[in-house]
C-alpha cells in the first residue's frame, strides 16, 4: 500500500515526542539513547532490499504513532472527560452552604 515516510522523519518525530514528554533532560533518558542506537544500527545494509530494515521502519512508525496518539488522547481526555462526582462538602460549598457539625458525634457513632 502507501509507502512509509522516510526514516529521518520518523526518527525526528520520535525524538520530538520524547522531548515533549521529558522536558530539558531528554537526552539522558533510556528511550532516547535506545532509539538513536537502533536507527544507527539499521542504517547500514549491503542489500538493495532489506526486509529487516523495512520491518524496523514499520516498528518505528508504530512507536511514533503510539507516542503521538497517547499524547493527543490524554490532551483531549483532560479537556473533555468528566471529573467524577464531587464530594458532599464541595457540593455544599458551591451553593454557599456548609455541612452541619455535631461536636458530640451522632447518636450511633463513638
Amino acid at each position: 500500500m502507501a509507502s512509509l515516510s522516510s526514516p529521518l522523519r520518523i526518527c525526528r518525530g520520535i525524538l520530538r515526542e520524547i522531548r515533549a514528554i521529558k522536558g530539558p533532560e531528554y537526552k539522558q533518558c533510556l528511550a532516547y539513547n535506545y532509539v538513536l542506537d537502533q536507527f544507527r544500527k539499521n542504517q547500514i545494509t549491503g542489500e538493495r532490499y532489506c526486509r529487516a530494515q523495512e520491518e524496523a521502519l514499520h516498528a518505528s512508525h508504530s512507536y511514533l504513532c503510539l507516542l503521538t496518539s497517547t499524547r493527543q488522547h490524554m490532551a483531549l481526555y483532560d479537556i473533555y472527560h468528566g471529573k467524577g462526582q464531587r464530594d458532599t462538602e464541595e457540593m455544599a460549598g458551591i451553593v454557599g452552604l456548609r455541612l452541619p457539625t455535631q461536636p458530640g458525634g451522632k447518636g450511633w457513632e463513638k
Partner: protein, 291 residues
C-alpha cells in the same frame, strides 16, 4: 464525621493500586482496594506518582526488569514483571516515565499487555486464543458490505477490496465479502490455513494479536498490520471507514470522534508493537571489509 471518613479513605487509597510494586526483599502483596469514599464506587484508576527514576535491569534467564526508584515493578497478579527483550522493557519503562504527578493506568497500554501476558488472569491456552481469533473472521468488518448509499459502497470497494485481495494472495485462501446479514461463508480450508499460521506464534504474540483483532474489529486488518503491509494509521482508518464517511458528510465532533480515533490508534499501535517485539529476534551480522 463524614469529613474524617473521607480523609481516612483518601489516605488508604494511596497505599494500594494496580499494578502493585514490591519493595525489594519483601514479598508482601498489596491488593487493589475498592475506593469506598463519597466520591464514587470505582476501582482506582489513578494514583499519585511515588517514584522519581525509572530504569531497567537484567534479571535471571535473560529477562529484563523495570525498577521504579529502588523497587522492582510487579504485575497486578503479584509476579515479578519481566520482559523478554530490551525493546519491550524500554517501551514499558518509557510509559512509566511519561507519567507526571498522577499515574494514569489507562494510558499505559504496553504495560497492560505485558501484565496480561504474564498473569494470564483468565487462564487461556494458545488453542483457545486461536479459536477465538478465527471466530472473529466470521464477523470481520471488511467482509460486511452495505448496499446503499452508493458512495459508501464505492468507498468500501475501493478501500477494502485491495486489502482482501492482498490477504487472499498472501495466504492462498478464499474469504470474499457479502452484503447479507449473515456475512460471508468462510470455507474450512481457509480456517485451517489460518489456524496453522497462528499456531506458529508464541503465547505473548498471540495475546497482542488478539488485542489488535478486538480493537480493529477485523482479522484481515490485524493480519495486514502485523505483516507490515499497512501502517497503524491506515489500519485504524480502514477499520473506521463508515464512521469517517459519516464524519465527512455530517461533520466531526471532537469530544467523541477524535477521542475515539486517538484511543483506537494508541491501543492498536501498542498491540502491533507488542506483537513485533514478542516475535522478533535480531542478530547483527557484520561483513568483513575486503581490504
Amino acid at each position: 464525621m463524614l469529613r474524617n471518613l473521607v480523609r481516612f479513605h483518601n489516605c488508604l487509597g494511596h497505599a494500594f493500586s494496580p499494578p502493585t510494586v514490591c519493595p525489594r526483599g519483601q514479598m508482601f502483596k498489596l491488593l487493589p482496594l475498592l475506593s469506598v469514599n463519597s466520591k464514587s464506587y470505582s476501582i482506582i484508576t489513578e494514583r499519585k506518582k511515588f517514584y522519581e527514576d525509572v530504569s531497567i535491569s537484567h534479571g535471571e534467564g535473560g529477562m529484563f526488569e523495570i525498577n521504579l526508584d529502588r523497587r522492582k515493578l510487579k504485575t497486578p497478579g503479584g509476579k515479578l514483571f519481566t520482559a523478554p527483550n530490551e525493546a519491550l522493557a524500554i517501551a514499558v519503562a518509557n510509559e512509566w516515565d511519561t507519567q507526571k504527578d498522577m499515574l494514569k493506568f489507562y494510558s499505559m497500554h504496553m504495560t497492560t499487555l505485558c501484565n496480561t501476558a504474564l498473569d494470564n488472569p483468565t487462564f487461556r491456552s494458545k488453542d483457545q486464543m486461536i479459536t477465538a481469533a478465527l471466530k472473529y473472521l466470521e464477523t470481520d468488518t471488511l467482509c460486511y458490505r452495505v448496499e446503499e448509499p452508493p458512495s459508501l459502497v464505492e468507498l468500501q470497494n475501493n478501500e477494502w477490496d485491495p486489502v482482501l485481495n492482498w490477504i487472499e494472495d498472501r495466504y492462498n485462501v478464499v474469504i470474499g465479502s457479502s452484503t447479507s446479514i449473515l456475512g460471508p461463508e468462510i470455507p474450512q480450508a481457509t480456517m485451517d490455513t489460518f489456524r496453522q499460521h497462528l499456531g506458529s506464534y508464541n503465547f505473548w504474540s498471540l495475546t497482542g494479536l488478539e488485542y489488535v483483532i478486538t480493537q480493529l474489529r477485523s482479522v484481515v486488518l490485524a493480519f495486514a498490520l502485523i505483516d507490515k503491509h499497512i501502517t497503524v494509521e491506515q489500519a485504524v482508518l480502514l477499520s473506521r471507514l463508515e464512521e469517517e464517511f459519516q464524519i465527512g458528510h455530517w461533520g466531526n465532533v471532537e469530544w467523541a470522534h477524535d477521542v475515539d480515533l486517538y484511543d483506537l490508534r494508541s491501543r492498536t499501535a501498542a498491540g502491533a508493537l507488542f506483537v513485533h517485539f514478542s516475535s522478533e529476534s535480531s542478530t547483527v551480522k557484520r561483513k568483513l571489509m575486503q581490504e
